[in-house]
Symmetry: C2
């Protein structure tokens, strides 16, 4: 163990620059806590000249991040380049192969190549840490990896994407449409110019894949995740949710079921009184259910330069202190290939909103189809708009009205079957909206 | 590093017995994660014969926990005896002196002798871990000690006592008195026969003292804490809180202020919409505010055999894996003696409930006294009970009525001064109720 723990950082965007400043600011306590000086010695970035609030000449400069990764001048390589392949992957591999510890914030890289990289770290006896890859400043990786050692985890669920949670929060607070709120998120820098990755649920899925691996001792498998985004959520769903005592969140859920591990990312109705329903704006939250602790929830900032850098620096502090541990808790050879629970077997409550031609008998027919599929209904709500009522006081014109059904726990297959029948009956005039309910 | 990591447990009550079973259940993953077998080899308890769900003959039995602590048969000593002195202290000291790692759930011991024991652990180069001492299964110690390495913490606040939170939750849910709910808590085993330690706020204070030390790099100082319990909370306060958009929680708060570290435990009004307000029943929650992460909140079970054992086993797993780290983050010599911020300088909002003889001019006079003390009022609420209104339709009889004031941020000194004046004016017929408000 050298007296100086030498850090090389590749990628000096918001997170990288914040990490450099944070390591400066916390130098004394980091060295007191680990017994050696923790110091950035080398960096690499696209643009050397950019002002980042510190003097870049203090560090050895590398044009090539892969060269930095393998350089004898560092003990620990920090990958903040991003992307699931290309330079980021090459640099992480180079660092591990050269026997350097690695800290990365790269969820895509881990979701795609986590097991492979973990095996490399294991073979070289070095650490591969990635707290910053999931839920930014929330220490969910550490909690799953270390604090749950005595537990068999049964379920993990969370708000893993701040952009989506911001959009859903704005839609509710101001009664605005999805498109308007997305535009607002883009204007404020919470959403990318191409927002597909966030609003389509793919970012949440990458993070969920990592959490699933940690929680269930399974090899990371991002392809096993059922993914739905939030772009189909309309203001009426937000309002109906509230009326029925729920709030809509984009949740990532991984659950041990009788048929395997069910991994899914989709809009979800959670009870208004639950802790997770209070999580508004860009904040993230993750709930772990396990045999011993029953349930614990962590809430905090899922993004932002300082919050993400906080996770990077915590990983560095752990490694500097000599805290070992496998990347995914168990040796890679012991990670199981998780049985994939098919979504058709998903068991839970459902919110179904049908836009129907309001002809006599429509509601009765719909309810009948759900009864045929052996689905019990908790609520049926049919509000005719004031507008429609004025235009058509007899209620016999057949103008489209929303009919909302809340089911008791049933299966995805049963709900899909009932809806197919209802659609076949010809009452429905828009694509049915289906939102799963999590009552726990 | 031996191939077997040998555990000795002193105290086989609910937590100890649960820990033994959990170490059995999790043996495979604990050994896979640490590279060596983690095995209980020796135990000590008051009663050897009691059925605890496992065969006690598997372990070497010690009548004397201090002898177990120092025994060459163990590498790590688990103290689950309890009490701030006597056997628990002697055993922990004996273990540390003999160069054993120590895991303890004993908050009283740490609150009183934390620095002294940490110094001993440091001198011997062994670990002293105590996740179970604060908030049971919630990994708040690990989070403060490790995950916040990049942060300067500004404030920590939490619901640290499940008994009090249970009582306050019941009072609200069912409109019952404090005494009835306390009785119910005792019947359900959530409160001791002598409940003073919990309801007086002292249990929360011990836990807060430990968190303060971890958060601020200060020596543990339980005597520096301003402590108030919940026994004076009445149903009218619970109702008024709700009417005004708040909920009453017993919070422990430690905050870096201009005059030092303010440490306090008292009933607190938190906004109904805050995450912490949703924490009901015996659940605990802790919020950390810090420069980089802004705010993170952890919620989970604060007590119970399995949840507490989960924290103990996580500590054992960390030590078995060789994860080092100082008990209080920094070497004991570097822990500062924190400047104690006097409560009179506390700055915040206040709820003041005065029971006054409702004579003409009473309200005006009260409001005047607050204005004299330069306190701005956010709300003034005076409900005459229906009963009083029936008996006294003119409102001139002077029957006692509650007057509730909500102040904007002011100082404790100003509020006390205004109330003293109001009391001096002779309108007030009961001890004024004062509850601090945390709006963040």
């Amino acid at each position: 163990m050298t007296q100086v723990f030498r850090i090389g950082i590749a990628g000096l965007g918001t997170v990288g620059a914040s990490a450099v400043l944070m390591l400066d600011r916390r130098a004394r306590s980091l060295s007191a806590g680990s017994g050696r000086e923790v110091r950035v010695t080398a960096v690499s970035a696209r643009d050397r000249a950019r002002d980042r609030g510190f003097d870049i000449d203090r560090f050895t400069w590398f044009d090539d991040p892969v060269a930095l990764a393998a350089s004898p001048e560092i003990d620990c390589f920090i990958e903040l380049i991003g992307g699931e392949k290309g330079t980021a992957k090459a640099a992480v591999e180079a660092a591990l192969k050269a026997g350097k510890h690695v800290v990365t914030a790269n969820k895509a890289l881990l979701a795609r190549h986590g097991s492979e990289l973990a095996a490399l770290a294991e073979a070289k006896g070095v650490s591969l840490q990635f707290e910053a890859a999931v839920a930014g400043g929330v220490p969910i990786v550490k909690t799953l990896r270390e604090a749950m050692a005595g537990n068999a985890i049964t379920r993990i669920s969370g708000i893993l994407n701040g952009t989506c949670n911001y959009i859903l929060s704005r839609m509710e607070a101001e009664g605005l449409s999805f498109d308007v709120c997305l535009g607002e998120a883009q204007r404020l820098g919470y959403a990318e110019a191409d927002p597909t990755f966030d609003i389509g649920g793919f970012d949440s899925a990458h993070k969920l894949a990592i959490l699933t691996s940690l929680a269930f001792g399974a090899a990371v498998d991002a392809d096993a995740i059922h993914v739905e985004g939030i772009s189909a959520i309309s203001p009426i769903d937000i309002r109906m949710a509230q009326e029925l005592g729920y709030r809509i969140k984009l949740l990532g859920v991984a659950e041990a079921t009788a048929t395997g591990i069910e991994q899914r990312v989709h809009p979800t109705m959670v009870p208004l009184t639950s802790a997770i329903a209070q999580v508004m704006g860009v904040t993230n939250a993750v709930t772990i259910a396990a045999d011993a602790v029953r349930e614990i929830t962590l809430i905090g900032p899922g993004a932002g330069g300082d919050a993400t850098a906080s996770a990077v620096v915590a990983d560095i502090a752990d490694i500097a202190r000599g805290s070992g541990g496998m990347p995914f808790v168990l040796p890679v050879a012991q990670l199981r290939k998780a049985e994939r629970a098919p979504m058709q077997l998903h068991h839970g409550g459902y919110y179904v909103r049908l836009t129907v031609n309001d002809r006599p008998g429509a509601a009765a027919s719909i309810v009948g189809r759900f009864a045929e599929a052996d689905i019990s209904l908790e609520s049926i709500v049919q509000h005719r708009s004031e507008d429609a009522a004025t235009r058509d006081p007899t209620g016999r014109s057949g103008a489209p009205v929303p009919v909302v059904l809340i089911t008791y726990a049933t299966t995805e297959a049963a709900v899909r079957q009932a809806i197919d029948k209802v659609v076949g009956d010809g009452y429905v005039v828009e694509t049915p909206q289906i939102i799963r309910i999590e009552r726990e």
